[in-house]
Symmetry: D2
Subunit: 377 residues, 4 copies
């Protein structure tokens, strides 16, 4: 464990900035065995709101000067909680400045950006600066346990995965236009926002690569009221795909922002020859599984000693919330930094997800013809 604590700079203080600040503020209390951190500086554009946010979220200082942050020796870690089109440049600058970098998912808006980031991360790693992409759902105890079950063969080779990420915040035709429904700012809609998590889980849980993709996209509400009047929605509301892996599995993916009644439902199902797994983010403390040839479903409340991440928290039956995943993510990141190991999911993982998203988009543009993610750009 490092003697001196690591200084953190978080960039952004909206939804994700709040979630990440919470993680940095609490990681030491629950994971005392990882390197300690200081909430050194919160970085943003608007001084007034930045001051308020910093005071609320526990930051020692604020900055609107990105170059000064990069030059600040007290900053060891840069954590980017900003829209995707800003990820590549800032992450690469931070790595070049010798900072460890954590980037919110998805890694970038394009394959090209992601490729450049992977190169930058590889170069930085040689100099001891590490990079990670923030697929926080890998830190849900139930999903981490699911991964252990798959890895240890308890459900046999996985044949089919069914992953859906269903939300409903755009089900209302009258929901107003935001930057999230414009291609120039958001890149894509449900695809980048939700399918990125789904694809990461498929890769992570199966430990396999996607080699072929059939995809479709649909925008159900094609116009919405913007601040300057009626405006075209230029991203997808929903996406469907089948992912074929190099291990012979098929994963169906369905993501949408139009699923009335589904507030935030990432559903993961895996079917192997000797078992199965089910999970729903709306009940994130629970894992349902058939193991070792059983055909009846066992529901575990994943709060028992020895289960992934659990020992850091509370006694059995005392459940965790959504935001705890960020604290555990910070701990995993810090532990790797402390040990000089590359953290995961790496930027290469982020790129692999990005290629699959691009393949879905490319397949959809071609009416569903199959696309190899390696051939996207």
């Amino acid at each position: 464990m490092s003697v001196q604590s690591l200084g953190v700079a978080v960039v952004g203080h909206a939804f994700m900035g709040k979630a990440h600040s919470n993680a940095w503020r609490n990681v030491g209390a629950f994971y005392p065995d990882v390197p300690q951190v200081r909430q050194h500086v919160l970085v943003g554009r608007d001084p007034a709101s930045l001051e308020t946010a910093a005071a609320t979220l526990g930051w020692e200082s604020v900055s609107t000067d990105w170059q000064a942050v990069l030059a600040d020796d007290r900053v060891d870690i840069v954590d980017l909680c900003i829209p995707g089109h800003l990820h590549a440049t800032m992450a690469m600058e931070a790595l070049a400045a010798g900072k460890h970098v954590l980037v919110e998912k998805p890694l970038a808006n394009t394959v090209a950006e992601a490729e450049a980031m992977v190169d930058a991360a590889a170069a930085a790693a040689d100099r001891g600066a590490h990079a990670m992409v923030g697929f926080n759902y890998r830190r849900i105890p139930a999903l981490a346990l699911a991964r252990q079950y798959v890895e240890s063969g308890r459900i046999g080779p996985v044949r089919q995965a069914r992953v859906a990420y269903l939300q409903d915040w755009l089900a209302d035709d009258d929901a107003p236009m935001t930057w999230r429904m414009r291609k120039e700012t958001a890149g894509s809609g449900a695809l980048g926002d939700l399918a990125s998590h789904a694809v990461d889980q498929v890769r992570s849980l199966l430990g396999q690569e996607v080699v072929r993709v059939n995809g479709e996209l649909r925008t159900f509400v094609t116009e919405r009221d913007g601040e300057q009047g009626r405006e075209d929605v230029t991203v997808d509301d929903a996406a469907w795909a089948t992912l074929h892996t190099d291990g012979g599995a098929v994963a169906s993916v369905e993501v949408t922002r139009m699923a009335t009644g589904r507030r935030n439902s990432l559903q993961v199902e895996l079917y192997g020859s000797r078992g199965a797994i089910r999970f729903d983010l709306e009940a994130l403390n629970e894992l349902h599984s058939c193991l070792d040839g059983a055909t009846a479903w066992t529901r575990e409340l994943v709060t028992d000693p020895g289960q992934p991440y659990v020992d850091a928290w509370w006694p059995p039956g005392h459940t965790l919330g959504w935001d705890h995943t960020f604290t555990s993510q910070a701990a995993d990141f810090l532990r790797c930094l402390g040990e000089g190991r590359p953290p995961t999911p790496s930027f290469a993982d982020g790129l692999a997800v990005q290629r699959v998203l691009a393949a879905i988009e490319q397949s959809a543009a071609g009416s569903g013809v199959p696309v190899d993610p390696k051939e996207t750009r």
Copy 2:
């Protein structure tokens, strides 16, 4: 109501023959308002097993002579509970002989057969003989109630449907070869057996036609032990499709026989602009819905007076089983016969499903390119 009871001939006495016999034996007790029936004759090939089955299942007589059955004036209804490749010929012969005909799903193994059956049914209807295909799940009270909710606009226009039919009886690599895994006898695998129900529900619940299909098929276990040694599996174990309807909806369909832990799980989800619906065949008395703009799920035990089919059965809270759907199906059929109305789902409905199945197969053969069901054959 007819003064004289209608004589029924059931052809076949395996799984479906038992289920249909049960329906004919009980329909009068629960639906006294429809025409009465007599269990006149059970038809089969093997006299010994036929006698035993008839005695057990309540039949007055048996026959191994199909032509004699057709010629028998005491037979008013012919109910075909036999493999799909026998449907077309026998159904058309029965209609030609002036019998009302009920055919188990799927209607046929090919579009061409189904087309011929539709023509035959139209001709027969002019002579007062009616035909129906046995998509019994339309008679589940919860799904019939779901249809009412959609029709009356309580979930708004449906944008997305998610229909999965998950079974696990082939998840075991060592499950032996049967006629169901051979293309020449079964036509297809999970596709015809399970996706037929899924597609029928999409058409029935939405009241829309499928105009474009993207599909994929996969056989995970490509060889199994047959009676004469190792044998190729020549049908699909699983199928995936997206169905685009003329009403602008997209329905994802996933069916499989490899979903360990899913014994018989037909899952239906509908998402509209003002609500949603969820159903699972493994809990067939329950309907989950968000209605009239609500975003929280209400779970109804569909056993209340006034709900579809319920008045025929028991007081609130006294649940029905899988086999009751066949009894209610028989009642619907008989009621139409009594009133001289064409019963539904008609052979034309059966054909429409068949075209979608063919489109999935054709799309799959073309690596997922879109296919218009009207252009299949």
Copy 3:
């Protein structure tokens, strides 16, 4: 198996008469290995409604003459589906006439009646006529499986049981008065109607006797509109009890007709030193259990080969309904008759339940002081 079929007389054709008629009509089809039956005669008071019911429910004849039924040699089995205050006399007359007797639960309205019935049954058994009381929920596959689990020690010695039977048909203050809310006709309210099932399950599942009871009763709506105006409700709406068994377990029992939203929810929970069991009648195909020291819940859909009663019915995943319990009950009864074995639950079991109900009532009258069921009358 008997060469000649047994003639059945059902007395009563309301709710229970319909359910039992359904059982006799179908038992042969699902349980061909037990003695065959004929639906010989339906017995009632009102000739007109009796004729209609008999025609609908499949009976060969009707009778309004109880003595003639007793004298009819073609009647081998008398099945009483009538209010409790008529059970004792008619059951004893039928046994005296040499008939096998099935009596709907609860066995009687008083301990004294039940004692007389036990004596009569013992005498009849010596002459080869057998008696059973109709606690049909023993025939739910999931509860029968639960019993196997307890018997084979898979949850260890049971320490606590929690049994609730929750209904809501009297939650509405405006629900009208019926004979069920009058002490002179119904004996008690939720106590006799619902707690009888609960107590039978405790005895049956644990295989233990209740030796001490603390009980309470409450009538929440003390007046209702009757046909002659406002009337006092003279039975309980709800009952609570703790039952202490000779095996050292404590079972809490709570039954009510006022539990809004609970249509017909018999909930059974058992907690042993090495496992636990959960069941809810509203989802009667499912059993939840922790077995052999496990602390996570496994949900079984009890439709697999080899599980109790299942082989008589359908393939895995094809669920049963409430009424199938009566068919299986008839089969169990007939199998015992065929083998000359006394069927269970016996009249003695019915009496044991009755004593516990009386103890609850007596304890309630004494403000909750403990009562030994053996000392009730």
Copy 4:
């Protein structure tokens, strides 16, 4: 809002000390509108472990000198996270020293202690020092919403409540002896630990007082291995009670540490004339209800804007964990302090719960005879 932040002293750094420290560390980030706090001093006995805990949990200083803490002007709030037999003395000393006091539940081990504490709190309130007892489950959004539903009449007058708190950490006979199983240290077993929450919920949700109690206690495992060998268990493993309220309702309470498979399941059910409510702590983000005369259950994920506590946290569908209840509890406490209002639940609420627990114990000692909580001591 106070200009200067309030200094907090937490006494104890075990399970509850960690949970409360977490709350004080985070309350400002989520509830910026309440008075700010400083984590001034962590108080304990063992200097070494105290230092470590303070460093981990974010405390500025430590103290083993209780009198010094009382004398320290920088301490505005004393938060007692210590065993119950220490509550009374320390709480009264802190109040006498002018501190605001938060005491973990249950308020005390005896009615006499609780009465003294109520008197002390009343005297302190006159001088501007406020006291609260930590029934943190009142701060679960779903239970707070349930309270709103009851208060606004959406389920009608409540007739029956069913509250169970089921845990399983003593189900294993071989679980070792601790101070929690000795009467001299713990006062009681499941009764004080678990039933206190259950009784608080009954009082809080119904807004009614308990006027009559029938209770029973049981110790299933009467000896356990202690550090000095075999030892008697002198507290209850489980408790049962019926609580009769001044509003005419009956609440059944069942609490146990022997319910295998129930890790931490506080189950609350309310049945009113026009609706019902269900909740389970193992799924604490969900509330199930029938409202306004409905008889079907609606499941809300209580994460929507405007629902109690939710606005402080995350967007819809982003669930909370067990520990968030303490943060919201701290916020409620601070808000009252800022506004000079007495916080709830007050020491008087704590006393009322204590009287009911004592009544259960007294009734149990009398074989279940009814006891009026007002007459306990």
